[in-house]
Symmetry: D4
Subunit: 253 residues, 8 copies
């Protein structure tokens, strides 16, 4: 866009007396009103924000075709940005690696990554804790995302509250975290217990693991929203990526 150029010209005409200031004013007011915001540098601010956050656009694979994913991936990598595709099928990866041969597919997490030199390091450690082995795919989505966003990640898996001693046995690792992601299905009690053991923010991720009255993760979600520990905030069911993004925002503060 050449909006600055146009403004310059207008001002030049005013300076030259080629245009009445009253008329110039009218033009300016019009411009303020009608001009798309991105012409005003607004989109630039958005770019700044991407830079400040230390991470570019992420591709949610869900509901996109392999071809679409590959196309966007190529564009992102092409401009020097780190690539992250979540909820990516093996087919999607087949398409992506034809355009980004060095990309990696994390099967369990269903995530495609390709790291470039554009990510700022986080300040501390993000601990990703998960309750059961079935919660691991979501935990891995969170852990890989957090790592790609420049954070040191510590995984503490299979520490569900029904065997509380396993979690307590990992307390020395928990307390090293600057922020914790706690992933759990079924009754979703892990974040509450974890939050009571530490003094850092806990991002809770309910998973759709369970059956019957787990209602695809609703039981865990409600459990987390009603946490009796006051340091717990919650993201959508199975949203490992979202939790990692928030944890990374915090860890870059």
């Amino acid at each position: 866009m050449t909006s600055n150029k146009l403004l310059q010209e207008l001002l030049d005409r005013v300076a030259r007396g080629d245009i009445e200031t009253r008329d110039a004013l009218e033009h300016l007011v019009e411009a303020f009103r009608a001009r798309p915001f991105e012409d005003l540098g607004f989109a630039k601010v958005d770019h700044h924000r991407a830079i400040r956050q230390g991470f570019p656009e992420v591709i949610l694979g869900l509901g996109k075709t392999p071809a679409q994913i590959a196309a966007i991936a190529q564009e992102i990598v092409g401009r020097g940005s780190t690539l992250l595709v979540t909820r990516a099928s093996a087919e999607a990866f087949d398409a992506v690696r034809t355009v980004v041969p060095a990309s990696t597919y994390h099967l369990e997490a269903a995530v495609i990554t390709f790291r470039q030199q554009d990510v700022a390091p986080g300040k501390g450690t993000i601990v990703v804790a998960s309750a059961g082995t079935s919660d691991q795919p979501v935990a891995e989505e969170a852990a890989i995302t957090a790592e790609l966003m420049g954070n040191t990640v510590e995984r503490i898996y299979d520490v569900g509250v029904a065997g509380i001693h396993r979690l307590l046995g990992e307390r020395h690792r928990l307390v090293t975290a600057r922020v914790i992601i706690a992933v759990a299905g079924m009754e979703g009690a892990l974040p509450s217990v974890v939050s009571g053991l530490v003094s850092v923010p806990v991002i809770a991720v309910p998973t759709s693991v369970g059956y019957g009255a787990s209602f695809g993760g609703i039981a865990a979600l409600l459990g987390m929203l009603n946490s009796c520990a006051s340091g717990v905030s919650v993201v959508n069911i199975d949203n490992g990526f979202g939790a990692a993004n928030i944890a990374s925002l915090i860890n870059h503060l």
Copy 2:
């Protein structure tokens, strides 16, 4: 705000050669970026919009104290605008009429009104149809709102689908409408039947009338969302005002 004045001054200085165009450009770009939108005439657009819609701000009485309502009412009336307070208690009216003595309280609709000369007339008739006598307060909220917004309103009440002949008996009045508001609780079937009889848009308002499995209007709401008639759109439960506002928007097109 004096933003135009400031711009004028800047341009004058450019015209006088008191300032370099390069510096003036910098000032302008800065203004585009940082200045609150309402300073840029954005809020004016909003005012224009109020004028185009033919109706100023409305007070939702729910969750406001009588004193708060009266204060806002005074301000609205003071700038020459028509007053509409919805979900207004008798106590709210007591407070309002101390500052707007000529205002009227519509008990059944729980609405306070005071009409001024700022409302453009709608083009056709808005029919407000309701299923049962208990739906009437919501229907009246819609009808009074629509009238205050400059529309001719025709009321067709107590024409529930269980006595279909009563509704059919009013068909000649239904077909005079430019837009119809259909208000119903319980199973909420009225809009479907009405929409099948006419060729104009039908705004459906579910009411919380009913008991047991009506779940405070959910049954009616779902019925209306699933209408087998394709000319029906829906607003929130008991939202007579919202339906009237949309109907009035349509009737002013």
Copy 3:
């Protein structure tokens, strides 16, 4: 069971003086307490009931293997009873017709039938009305069931309330019914309107037809439970068989 024989023997012994009445009493009281109810003729009453109702056991195909269905079908037909299998797949029919070659498969209704001479005729006509063409499988399940149970059935299909004139155009057929089954998905308003046109009981069947906020038939179910017409009772979603069974019970009164 030979319980009567045993009682007879006991009484004979009492009559012969072979046993004290006090001891015989003890035996009797014991029998009253411990004996399974069906040994006491209770199951017979159940058989009587089947006869009174005019219909034997029905096979719900859902969740049974073709082999299981065929085995039960063979037993039912073998004792001279009319056969009805609901929710029957084509595979189930393949299995059934190897053992009941003369049985019929009603594809749309997913029902297998084989009529024998054990069903009493109903007194009047059962009208089966349905709202849309997609409701027809459920309506057919109801209609075929009702016919098999000895009732005269009149089908009035595709008379949804959004085209109310089609339903009204069938009013002369509606009023011939002794009991009406009204089948509808989406907003489920048909039973309310039908009930307002007649003076006989209306059995409402919500169907899972619809999408989005129909929630697999919940919208229709709630609509019917909240019917503003007071002659409507409701069965489970898609339960055409249940509606027909109740209608037949009524029509045999």
Copy 4:
């Protein structure tokens, strides 16, 4: 209405040659098209229906003021009809008895009645069974309604399924019914068990009795809709009146 009188006059004019048949035809066609249905005898059919059903309009007290209820009651009684007000408060009764001094208030059922000579007797007995003492208000609403509609009513109360012997002990009374109303809160299992013991239609009424996961009657409602007994149809939560109306329709067949 005098529509027949008008038709008679038109025909008389045709007979007298006062009007051309072509013009008379036009008048007639116009009447067919535009005239409100009730003018065409449609409302009469409605009246016939009331007569056939053996019962006139009923007042649902819920959401009406005592004054409104009294006014409608006076009108109904004035035209010689039996009066039934459901969900009536003591205040409503105070208002009603000023205009219908001989009316009766049934406190537990919250029902006002005044019987006149316009109700046809039902053919058999309606049994009203209820599970717990807290279900009794709803059961009484059903029982009193059914009696007022001309039916012989047998009450079998406090026969919940957790003490199955009490219900079985009443089996001899259950089997005398032509139609049964089964009222239950909590898990709502009574209709299923009752239906298995008889061969007549069972109208199930869920009540809002219970706490916690009874969800104001939803648990009972779902239980009844999923009844494993196929002779059960269901009405809205706490809708004793509706159940009685349907039972009465059946009992008058």
Copy 5:
């Protein structure tokens, strides 16, 4: 139907004295009562309505076989009407183009169309705005439907509220609309923001896009029903067609 002819004959007989007026009256009253409504011109009104609305019957492909769809399509096209099949599979299109070779399949929208000369043009522009790329199929269903119904359609896609500047950047296109369709999944906030920027009716379409606590579109649906902007009405989840139909009704006013 020849009802007018029959009436004429009756009147002629009255005029000739061939029949007593009393007997003729009886015949007439009988006719008023029993005759199907469509015989009275009622169905004709329905045809008129189709003409006034500018659009004939539409085929909802969901739950219909390709053969059924093709048959109805052939009938519609045969009588000169424009064809619209929604929720059409590729198989359905294979069947349709054997009978309507010139028909078009819109893959993303899953819509089959064939335009004929029977559709009246709308008055203004309908803007279809959508939040994310996954909402596009629903948006396209709406856009293609609206176009086929004679409207000028402007598409503004991928303007979700999390990147508000993109939406604001399109404000100059938004304000050209006479009516707006806003399509969004997830939290469904787009219609609220859009409605605050314009002064025309906004039809909101929730989509089933999302996962976890989006519950197949319920989150978006509730968000839209609770819109803090008062110009928003809502249709069923994924109901792009319905939104377009309402928008077209409005745009033809």
Copy 6:
């Protein structure tokens, strides 16, 4: 009842030859069929059961008037049974103590008790654990019920999982239990953690404590049903009495 007396007489008549054995048989078979079950000793079994369970009938105060409660209480106490009234208001207690002056009112638990010598002692200790102070009324209802039913009760209160060390600090008391009742609102995670620490059955009681997305105890209920610990079974929300009754049944095994 004198059923045994009647049987005795019948047998005496058989013994005397006053009646044919065939006729006597007929009488007997008839008696088996038609006689109310409680006449057959069935109710006695029920009495036996009460004795075996160690506890008579309990009065649920909810929805009963003080007068009704007092009347039943008087009857229960009069036959020498221990009295338990749950969900009892202060008014109910005022009524009860006029007839059972020595009864006690437990304010927090809303329970009225009067112990008599008819309750068998349980074998071990029932631990009642609760998460927060607001769960205490439900925990007390359970504890007092369990004590009254003859059990030794140990209370471990305020051991919610957010401060896991408090619970672990009570582990030595937990492991003394033969059965545990775990009471918790909000996310309801206590039973899972407790069950992982012991090897006895845990009865989980969700409470309605919480706000917002606790939905009156649903969150806790779902959490408990989805417990990752396999020794947890659940009762209704706030049902302290029910949990105690089951725990007592187990503790008397």
Copy 7:
């Protein structure tokens, strides 16, 4: 772990004077604080618990690959423990029997078992009762689990409450139970009726059997939670294993 060995060595060094008691104290305190709990005998307690409960870890097959299941199975069997895999597919069994050739696959229950000599016998009989034939897979999961855990199991199947006589006919078997598992889908009324017939704890298992408003087992779950019988506690939908585990815990008391 050899923690005890390490402690022994430390103490020996103290005894030998090889280490100062102050230093030894430091080591000990350190061990108490930092060492994972299982190293401190905590895990041993856990092992003790497994021994006391009479059953080792169980594999939930759901969401694990055949290879994963086989690996864990091999480990469990290798340390002499009895093997139980629930929700096991045929593929899982194929993998398991390559490592545990003598294991058995229970097709209907979807359970893999291999019994070793490490399970203590329960004290009495566990009755598993189920309502319909479709509930049998869940009932079998419960029955096989209970048997493997050392309990005598009595199966009473197909005793749904709609044919109450069948259940009553099995009353003599019901009363032999020390604990009862009652399995039912649809309205889930079986546990209530069963509990009223016995004086032992009843564990209720709702199943996902049903359609429409059974909502995948919610109706049955709610019915059981609202049981009017006070001896019923509930586990998750389809959780036959959990019910058996609790019943076995009780039966080993």
Copy 8:
């Protein structure tokens, strides 16, 4: 506790040969097993944690009596800690100020505070943004809590998304935040839009503001959980305190 002293003595006895190492080992193992965790310094860690977080225990006023609240308040203030009571009624404040006369009652937020010198300052600014005036009580609960916890708080109220320019007009203040709390009822769209404008974590608080299909805040809650912006995490409905606590944890990192 003197556990270290006891250990010292034990080791001394070992050193002196007063006790066999085998016996000493036994004592130690016993101690590891049975000793409450807080004896092991675990509780101390908890105290450390309170100090690190910069905030002591908080009183949730909901469901506590004024006397209970005052007693806890006195204890907290007595040990030099800052006092915070949330959801406090005016009655609670009356009780509290008798024991903490200098405490303050924030009426709109329903919060009682008394600041002492024990709170560490946060690093940056916490912005509390709210959508409507009715959301203000929850926003104030958050703002006052955050201030009391040592944070600089900036309030941006009444910036709902339906008037997007008001929010955009405050963008310069938004971007000063280190963490943002976004409070909104109805459709709850504010956090999504805010998160798109900044690069810091956003804690979303749904409020119960709204009516009809807002379902007491569920609509807003779902909207926030489904936010299309990836920097949003959510707390329970109306949980202003919880959001502030998390924001403060982050702001103290």
